[in-house]
Symmetry: D3
Subunit: 244 residues, 6 copies
């Protein structure tokens, strides 16, 4: 099985971390192609960055599908461009936020998402409502920038840990979801320290896309994910041909 | 008052229709700058087209703000790029879907959105849930392409009318919201024919942005709409400087 | 444009404050008729006062419509009698709570309503659920009586400010909605002090009714707001003729 | 036990029907005082009629409490004036819509409310949302005027029955709630004919108020139902003294 | 009237307490048969205990119905086995959690459930969502074991009281629901101390089943509560004949 | 990896079908132990059957865990006993309904569950609300008994197909979830015929439990799934020792 894992920001260091996590989690026979677009923001922190990450992301999804990838993971916790990618591709596509909250709901009642910056709380709350877990999941922010997660200082890790403890002790969270792809390397040590399940979206996404591909399930083309219609796309925004 | 109305697709004919509607609705002292980006899809029909419309849209929002526009309307019923535009701009920004459903809820209990293609129902249902009107608003599609609305055939208008009647007679809709910017010229004749309020998002958006500007209300920068942080944007995706 | 603004309590001082706010906010050509009924409670603090304010309010709505007003604002934050007024009148009618929360949702994600007495929290929470914003809006009370707002002491203003700060810092509110018509004069100074948008319902209501009248939108008569049926009304309760 | 049952409209014939139903349902030792205000509309069909029924209703609640009634039922299916009555009285007060839906949810999963006129659907849907049963209860109208229920023609009864059958066969309703106090005499024959539980609000309200009085439970005065504050009430609207 | 009250755990002391409460609350002519199964857990603290309590509970429901009981109360606050009991029996069956929250919603806006152990919070939150009161009811735990309620120490009672105070002062609760059948004897003294209504599910259940029986209302057999179909039940799990 | 798949009814033929499906879907290195309890109902059709299936199911979960199974799937679409099994076991446990709806939500917007008998609609609707997909998923019944699925007649398959078509054409379903473990063998042929994804819960459950086990995620013991407390269990109901 050949899977595409796209980090939609342009930080190669984060892509390497994501690739390592994905490879550690995938099945023996699975090949992971982890990459990031050549264009777009260095990190995704809020709605604006998301918007500029999507065209490059979609180009990578299209290219990956064209060269034979059987499924794709979008490795940004905002599930950036997920709906557009599902409409574009014939292969199944999952986001890491949706993947993490689905798995979290299988091992816990209440749980919490602990993310980076406060500005990311509103978009993630919008996602928890869409995914139907808002009444069991609170979103907290640790005030750590995304790129600071590459080599987190003890102080940054401490702020993250503090929010986890507040979630468990104050909100009744029974599990922690890591709210940024850049936190993937911290999952194991946090789980050991906290004593509750800690769910990382990158590995959750890999397992769920393996599940879909393994079962032959592809995105339905019967509704909102119908193939894009053929039409003119002016300017430099569309470097590949939609299969209308 | 100087207002920006951006048609996020690249169809100049639709921009002209939108401009005419906006000017017919604005207050005496209001100046409308209606335009569309130079890059992006010819029409927005589903998630994929949305993704490619956003960068050009944001460029126009930034440029409009820079040259003195005091508020902006995004004239696509998917409220394409709305969150990103709010994060980018200091001036207030409204979408035409949100504007229409807010006004509809002031003149009716239940109401319906009648849109173009079936593929647009899921994204619009996502919006009605976000805007808190899902339990009073059903979305219906008339199976008419967006660009076919420029010069609608009697048959296309008939299909639109049929869905309006089904909404009123079958769903208990007390008002109709037109689910595409391209329908703006049809509002008056449909209202006369149907006997219930017919709300067009373009003029609704103009009145609501006039309200916000008139009251000096601007997007809060305290949460998810905080200014984008300064960071590298690789490639051609970012033709203007975010005010980090 | 000629608009009616009814303060449904019988405090003439509050009516004067409301009138001033309404006139400061309306468009150049708009004429504001601000008044209060001759009968009813001196202030509206809870469900009981609301009940006795409604008949006098409806009489004023009917009289205003009869003498040519084109739209009406009910200037009590409980949106007292709003449904009945919509059923009675052919002209559009808005409440100041619904107006404020609609505008707030255009400039902020989460926001808070700060009202007067704790007893008003439950009715306002019922309204936020009806208006579809309960998951993004918390209601707080400052423990200040309605009539104490006419000449608020520094101590009363301080209590109001404290609740605003708690909402912003503790609840993640990105904007403040003033939860009483009597707070209208405080909006500008609070906004300056708090650094987030502060939305007053009186001016919000004026702008929204201007929008509806400007667009020719009237309350739908197809459902719950159908004209009252002709029938006997015994006693002194009905000083005007319903148009059955 | 001495209970007050107020029909908030001024139709004496309907009050007699309600009284008979209440007496048939109450416990052996219970005394029913069934009455209607001297002022107000002849029937309650929509928001406007509700508004004019409330002051007279509240006067009767206050008088009933003063002369020793221990609990009160508001016998209009719109639960007219219920919140205000709870704030006014020390004795517990229930509405017949809330009573019926609470009992219905004890004997059925999905159920339906079948009411009189289409204009009553929106206010009843608002109630089903408030009472937390909207996802299991649909509201249907039989197009029969309230006062026509005093001596229903076979044709009117047929229309009612047709909506019951549609609810059971089409909506999966497992029980029927009669959506008007004037339908109380029809409950037994409809239940026999339909083969599912048929719940009448009048008798449901009597049993629930008996339950509350029997257990010594009174309306909490800690929140929104706090006693009205003492203040001037101008005009003829307030014929009794609130206990501030 | 002859009513069955089943304590689904096997603690005879708790059954005696429940019986006393039920008898103190029922009408003059009502005969209470209070009992517990011979098999099952000594107390029900969480999902696992529930599962083992159900078969014995159902056997008692079937036996009670067979010997002439006209209605049944399941006296465990988890509403253990309620759906299965409703499917099994022709007579109406109520749980004490649903009974308590229905009555609480008649005398208060917001209210709180105060239960025993933290592990019971998730199942009770699931119930408050099912019963439609989740947005007005918070669940709190006092960290007191169920069987410790038989002779509560002052320290245990103090912890219970502390949670009640936090609910009233911090959450805006206007009434307290006791979240365990074993708390029934504490209701009166807590109500006196707290100054708000305190609702015990055991007596609430008795009054609601009296109401249903009094009105001749039985569980609908039209949907999910249809009679069990005749089929083989292997092993020792089914000591009575389902009426297929 | 060694996985337990428990069919909670006592039909060995259905267990064989489930085993075959599970083995066809699992990864190369996975060993499937598929079995059913020796005690309990021959099929699970409604709440009553569920209750009697749970004790035997739990015994199998405990035995499977004791002999080294690393994860468990409960292969009944009612997710029978799922919460109790999660509390009992240290290994992760998933139900096939939750598994199917999680995967369905990754490949479709709206979708439908098509189940066997109408009596199963209410319990499944309760599950879709718990799992947060009620607003995008409708439940339909084909009127086919569970055991009739072992060798479905063309007429039975036709009824199933008809409900699938109604869901797709009438409800806007973009995918079909098979609402009974006994339908697993029909998935492939239905998907081919319908042209949309068809999701079977048995294979979905296998892939999700593989994902959890692969990632080392186990049920959180911090909340409602805490280990059962040690206590007496009277009678024959508890054939194994809970690990208190």
């Amino acid at each position: 099985m050949r899977l595409l894992v796209v980090n939609p920001n342009t930080s190669a260091a984060m892509t390497a971390t994501i690739a390592a996590a994905a490879r550690s989690a995938c099945a023996a026979g699975t090949e992971i192609e982890a990459l990031n677009p050549a264009m777009g923001p260095a990190s995704i922190e809020g709605y604006y960055d998301e918007a500029f990450a999507v065209p490059g992301l979609l180009a990578e999804i299209a290219a990956g599908e064209a060269r034979g990838c059987e499924g794709a993971v979008i490795a940004c916790f905002d599930d950036t461009g997920l709906d557009a990618a599902r409409a574009l591709a014939a292969i199944p596509v999952v986001g890491i936020c949706e993947s993490a909250v689905h798995l979290a709901s299988l091992v816990a009642g209440r749980f919490a998402i602990v993310t980076t910056l406060a500005r990311s709380i509103p978009p993630l709350e919008t996602l928890t409502r869409r995914y139907g877990v808002a009444d069991r999941c609170r979103v907290r922010a640790a005030d750590v920038a995304v790129l600071a997660l590459e080599h987190p200082t003890p102080e940054a890790r401490g702020r993250l840990l503090e929010q986890c403890h507040r979630a468990i002790d104050g909100d009744g969270a029974e599990a922690i979801v890591l709210g940024c792809a850049g936190m993937t390397a911290l999952a194991a040590s946090l789980a050991a320290e906290l004593g509750v399940p800690v769910i990382d979206g990158v590995v959750a996404g890999v397992k769920l896309i393996e599940a879909l591909v393994g079962l032959g399930l592809r995105t339905s083309k019967a509704g909102g994910y119908a193939r894009p219609l053929a039409k003119p796309y002016l300017g430099l925004m569309e470097p590949f041909t939609p299969r209308g």
